[in-house]
């Protein structure tokens, strides 16, 4: 099986805080991979390590068969990212942002113009294309970040909570677009707290908890022996939260 992402013992520490504790990931090419975990589990840190924003403390990893440490520029040419902080210049307009990204990726003027127009229309941003990003709402920023990630037609997409703050119409269009993208051979590495989206879109799942992988594999394997249970129940079971008792907080009673 050809892998889009492969990590062995990937570890990231900040001083005495171990955010990611030697995880092994195997994300097949052409898969829709859902990366799950509770808050603070290490999801965003893992994505930052894989996209070159953080340098892993130890471990090996390869992205699209390339070594990101040895040749980061080659990897970045093939990868699109929607990071946690959306990574946009406040003082560029939406159109200028796409122009900037396209130019750095070396797109010719005609491709840039056509792709940007299609993406802006898809994200319902055509009318706001001339506005500064500083004046965009959170949802508009998220859509622009996604458009910027898709513009160079990457082979692998890292999406950190892409549906958070996006309206239902755009969300549906983006889901369809991503499904088509995967059918066309692209790979999506997605984190989301909305488990219904993961359940509907993803064919591979990885669950991280306290910096360690607690489950990984095809969605069908994860469901094996757990017939009739929702992904939420399986997820809570995997991270050991199902048994956790909710404190009563008696003082809340009126």
């Amino acid at each position: 099986m050809s892998l889009a992402i492969e990590t062995r013992g990937l570890r990231k520490t900040f001083g005495d805080l171990e955010a990611v504790s030697g995880i092994d990931l195997a994300v097949p090419r052409g898969s829709f991979y859902g990366f799950l975990g509770p808050n603070g589990a290490g999801k965003s840190t893992t994505i930052k390590c894989l996209t070159g924003l953080l340098r892993p403390t130890s471990g090996d990893f390869r992205i699209l068969d390339l070594d990101p440490i040895a040749d980061p520029v080659a990897v970045k040419k093939r990868v699109g990212v929607v990071p946690e902080d959306l990574a946009l210049f406040d003082r560029l307009s939406g159109a200028e942002t796409l122009s900037f990204v396209g130019q750095v990726h070396g797109l010719d003027a005609a491709s840039l113009r056509d792709r940007a127009a299609e993406l802006l229309a898809l994200m319902d941003l055509s009318k706001a294309a001339g506005d500064l990003v500083a004046d965009y709402s959170h949802g508009m920023r998220k859509k622009l970040a996604l458009a910027a990630a898709l513009l160079p037609a990457p082979r692998l997409l890292f999406l950190d909570e892409p549906f958070e703050g996006i309206d239902a119409v755009a969300s549906r269009q983006i889901k369809n677009l991503l499904t088509q993208y995967v059918k066309g051979g692209g790979t999506v590495f997605l984190t989301s707290h909305i488990l219904e989206i993961i359940e509907r879109l993803c064919d591979y799942i990885g669950v991280i908890h306290k910096g360690r992988m607690v489950a990984e594999g095809p969605m069908a394997d994860l469901r094996e022996g757990r017939a009739g249970r929702s992904l939420e129940e399986i997820f809570l079971d995997l991270i050991g939260a199902e048994q956790a008792e909710t404190p009563a907080l008696g003082w809340l009673a009126q």
Partner: protein, 570 residues
């Protein structure tokens, strides 16, 4: 009420402490860098402490001298009035600029707390008392009253103490009122940025006003001497009578009247002045309360900067540069030009230069002006150097000032060396634009000088910028700050150490380049050689800067993680 005040004091204290400590993701170097950045304000406070002590001593001596008759009461009070009026202006200017650069978001957060609006208003007004200028003034005013008391004039001392306390309350309420009013009027981001830009430009140009007035007065005196008129010596009373009637309502004047009446045993007059001061304080406090109510009741609605819609097209490409470098450089110049700091870099030095020269030209008999008329290129170079200096917010913080935009650049296929080169080019475009404006301003007021010398001076400016660039890249990578370039205050500044080291680098580059230029023109007396010499010097600077920028860009890889975290404000 007391509980809320205590909570706000605690909040401010924790924010200061936590800004030094940072999060768990900070490495040791960043902790040191933050401590260094925090050390600068502490050093300033330590230095200012000396002035506060001096002010207090002068206040005590003044009070004692006035009470014992060592110095005439009218003279002591006149000095006090002058100082207080100056500080009144300073406090109003600070009050105008600071809220403009803030945001309404913190009000939204505070409004969610179970605190009455009245308490919130009182907290904000009391916070004005912590203004450094008021802190600078208070000990001097209070010790003046103590000095009067030690001089044996207890009743006069009581009047002075009451007047001083009321004056401080007036100042706090006035600062709060002006601050709230400006924040309310310019609550829109674009309006606020435009206001800051116009205000700073007006303030910079207005700074020459005293010089112009002094020159006008000197010229009047010269004219009178020429006509053989005797010199007029006016008394303080005569000068007072010349002041417009409205100045009598100024808090500094009311304070002066109360103190003087107290020292002259005119209790009714002192009481009237103190009463007027109290009325002013109450009026300002009430007005600030009304405006504060409006302010916290309003929401930020940003007018959008809409550009013409059309197909997305790539930005123009800088000759001899790759598309990536070109794109980053143009994005850098574009975003900078849309910030207050960037606009000041381009538009401040030219107009200041023009005003400066316009004023200097009034000195008809100054021989250096005659020379300046022949050497307008020097004026252009001075304007350009001012632009390079004011561009420190960019040059010494090339990466983190992009905030989230830096993450985007880190995710794009561009090497660190290319990124550094592009950033230097981008800020260089601003410097070139500022130099062009300075050249126009210089040409208007001092068009003399051979064209070759103008070009040579321009090459000299470029050489200085290039020589500074490796230092800029290294310092920006090592000492990043998440600056907000829409702010003209400390929030938009680079790291204190980077600014200081950058200044030293700038001075060295100016000394070297200026030395070469001056030696050619005035040392060798060969102005005809200036252009070839400066062309050669520019090539040398480029040859030195290029590999050094590549070398310095290694610091980006070394500090990439930290740069990303700082740029995100973590």
């Amino acid at each position: 009420m007391i509980r809320s005040l205590r909570a706000f004091v605690w909040l401010r204290w924790r924010l200061v402490l936590n800004s030094v400590r940072g999060g768990r993701r900070r490495d040791t170097f960043e902790q040191v860098s933050r401590a260094l950045a925090m050390a600068v304000p502490f050093i300033l406070v330590a230095l200012a402490f000396g002035s506060v002590v001096a002010m207090a001593i002068v206040g005590f001596w003044g009070g004692h001298a006035a009470a014992t008759g060592l110095v005439a009461t009218s003279v002591v009070v006149a000095v006090e009035r002058g100082v207080l009026f100056g500080l009144l202006l300073v406090i109003v200017i600070f009050a105008v600029t600071s809220p403009v650069q803030g945001s309404l978001t913190h009000y939204t957060r505070l409004l969610l707390l179970p605190i009455s609006r009245r308490t919130l208003h009182l907290v904000e007004v009391l916070a004005s008392l912590a203004d450094p200028w008021i802190a600078f003034l208070a000990p001097g005013l209070m010790l003046f009253a103590v000095g009067v008391s030690v001089g044996g004039r207890t009743i006069a001392a009581i009047w002075a103490a009451i007047a001083a306390s009321l004056f401080l309350v007036v100042l706090a309420a006035l600062a709060a009122l002006v601050g709230f009013l400006v924040a309310w009027l310019v609550r829109d981001r674009r309006r606020s940025e435009l206001f800051t830009l116009v205000f700073v430009l007006a303030l910079s140009l207005g700074g020459f006003l005293p010089l112009v007035l002094a020159e006008q007065s000197a010229s009047g005196r010269r004219e009178a001497r020429r006509r053989g008129e005797p010199r007029q010596n006016r008394t303080l009373e005569e000068l007072d009578r010349m002041l417009p009637a409205w100045t009598r309502a100024l808090p500094s004047e009311l304070y002066g009247r109360a103190v003087r009446a107290g020292l002259e045993d005119r209790s009714v007059a002192a009481g009237a002045a103190v009463g007027a001061l109290a009325a002013e304080a109450a009026l300002l406090f009430a007005a600030s309360s009304v405006v504060h109510g409006r302010l916290i009741g309003s929401t930020t609605v940003n007018s959008r900067r809409r550009q013409a819609e059309g197909p997305v097209a790539p930005a123009w490409r800088i000759p001899w540069q790759s598309p990536s470098v070109s794109a980053v450089a143009i994005a850098q110049a574009r975003t900078a030009l849309r910030s207050v700091r960037g606009r000041l870099v381009v538009f401040l030095s030219g107009p200041i230069l023009a005003v400066l020269v316009f004023f200097f030209r009034r000195f008809e008999d100054a021989s250096f002006i005659t020379r300046l008329g022949d050497n307008g290129f020097i004026l252009m170079a001075v304007g350009a150097l001012m632009a390079i200096l004011s561009a420190q917010a960019f040059t010494m913080n090339l990466f983190a000032s992009d905030r989230a935009g830096l993450t985007l650049q880190f995710l794009l296929p561009i090497s660190d060396a290319e990124l550094a080169r592009a950033k230097i080019l981008g800020v260089g475009l601003l410097v070139v634009a500022a130099t062009a404006l300075s050249a126009v301003a210089a040409f208007v007021v001092a068009p003399g000088g051979a064209p070759a010398l103008w070009v040579a001076a321009f090459f000299g400016v470029l050489a200085i910028y290039l020589l500074l660039s490796p230092v800029a890249v290294w310092l920006s990578a090592m000492f990043p700050v998440a600056a907000d370039l829409s702010k003209t205050g400390s929030g938009g500044n680079p790291h204190g150490f980077a600014a200081l080291a950058g200044m030293a680098g700038f001075a060295a580059a100016v000394a070297l380049t200026g030395g070469v230029f001056a030696a050619t023109i005035w040392g060798l007396e060969r102005p005809d050689l200036a252009l070839p010499v400066m062309t050669g010097w520019l090539l040398v600077a480029a040859a030195v800067a290029y590999p050094l920028v590549v070398l310095a860009s290694r610091a980006i890889a070394l500090r990439r993680e930290n740069l990303g975290l700082v740029a995100q404000g973590r």
